[in-house]
Amino acid sequence: MSPPAADLRRHFPIFALRPRPFHYLDSAATGQICAAAFAALERFETTARANVKRGVYRLADEATQAFELARARIAAYLGAPRAEEVVITSGTTAALNIAAHGLAGRLREGDEILLTAAEHHSNIVPWQLAAGRVGARLRAIPVGPDGRLDLDRLDELVGPRTRVVAATHVSNVTGAVTDLGRIAEAARTVGATVVVDGAQRVPHGPVDVQALGCDFYAFSGHKLFAATGAGALWIRRELAEDLPPFQGGGEMIRRVTLEGSTFAPPPHRFEAGTPPIGPAIAMGAAAAWLATLDWQRLAEQEAALTARLLAGLAAIPGVRILGPSGTQARCGLVSFTLDDVHPHDVCQMLDRHGVCLRGGHHCAQPLHAALGAEASVRASLALYNDAADIDALLGGLEDCIRRLA
């Protein structure tokens, strides 16, 4: 059984170094690094630092083994059948660009890529670029007034020209969890590939990519309580074999002549150049530690805190919550607007109370437009948050309203 948040905070060095008032509610942007990840990063950089995949001396071999162990740990966290199906990237954005670039080669003019209106720009722009190269058409599953995807439109939007469906697992604005099973089922009927942005889902517990029915799954290590600079892309094995590389360079080839090159098999084909070795090892260590926790209990804790936050916000005049008002099928992430006070001003004022929030469009301008807002304030929870964090936010908001509204 996992310990309560107060005990879990001991696994995150920052909380010892920054005592309260310090209420970190911006984990959707970057999670705090856990001790397991930090120790692994420090151990690699100070005792085992060498490049991977090439050197034959013992240090290099140890580095390679640590790197490949990280790959295996990430595969396990994702429920991937084989470690070799996990590509180490610099983050979610790079992962989604690998997917979009690779799949673009299979598209023809007039083919369709189906997105959702709830995507982060990282799962929109790469597809716009891909579509532009081949003359494909982008379509999007809309959201309803509650911020949830209108999946009743799937029958109409998924058609014979649909080749790719790209969707977020959890919205980085509303916290709504996407019913990926339904999307994958619709995609399967037309043979479309399903690409999932899992950046906001992985901090909330292990994933089972096989059960989800997707073909690609992307996430970032820094949101998984590891270092910045590394991420991962799971690619279903059958698809990876024929997928062209995104970047060329060292370590991704089989043979190079001046006339041309042949490429290494996945995952190395997608890992040109020196990978982010230390951050990847840290990511693996974080995944291994997280996998030992009791996620059912943590989910209950997060739901209770989310309910406290939603109820508190609902009681403040002028607050509008973007997205679902309840805790069903949502992660602990709540965005809201406050009448007559700009999100950045709210965040700046809340900083006085030690509350770290994110204000802006959160790289999700289409979703904000669909919800009738230009920007919002976002509070995002992680396993180390507790009721004091929520109460500090709510108290700080009242102070902010007194001063600025």
Binding site: H342, P343, H344, Q348, D351, R352, G360, E374, A375, R403
Partner: protein, 145 residues
């Protein structure tokens, strides 16, 4: 720090921005976005005899952006392009930490923003729009020669 950022002068200036009007017949109109938050200003400028005869704007933004837009709208009328460019340079110098007094003394209300780098672009937004408007006028004048 946040306390200073939201002192009375800035809050009062920001309120002025709400009453701003657009120009019916501007010489130039530009729109400028803050990509961080999607804030936007639409700025109109009309010149007569080499000086600003009218300035209008519609600003959707935070207190800092609106305060900067209001200051611009108050000080620009009657100024020539050189004075406007100096104000833009003064703001940049102020944000960079230059202690020299700006030509528009009210710009000093943004001194507390200096310490908060992530908010510099909030103050800059109206001035970036102004710079683009002046550039557009320059190009037009150059084309006419």
């Amino acid at each position: 720090m946040s306390e200073e950022l939201y002192d009375r002068q800035i809050v009062a200036a920001a309120r002025e921005a709400g009453a701003a009007q657009r120009l019916a017949a501007p010489d130039v109109t530009v729109e400028e976005d803050n990509p961080l938050c999607g804030d936007r200003i639409a700025l109109d400028l009309a010149l007569a005899d080499g000086r600003v005869a009218g300035i209008g704007h519609r600003t959707r933004g935070c207190l800092l952006t609106r305060a900067a837009a209001a200051l611009l709208a108050r000080r620009a009328p009657g100024a020539d392009p050189a004075a406007l460019r100096r104000a833009i340079a003064d703001l940049e110098a102020l944000l960079a930490g230059d202690a020299a007094p700006p030509a528009w003394p009210e710009l000093t209300m943004f001194v507390p923003v200096r310490a908060v780098r992530s908010r510099h672009d909030c103050v800059r937004l109206p001035f970036l729009a102004l710079a683009r408007a002046l550039d557009a006028l320059d190009r037009r004048e150059g084309g006419a020669r």
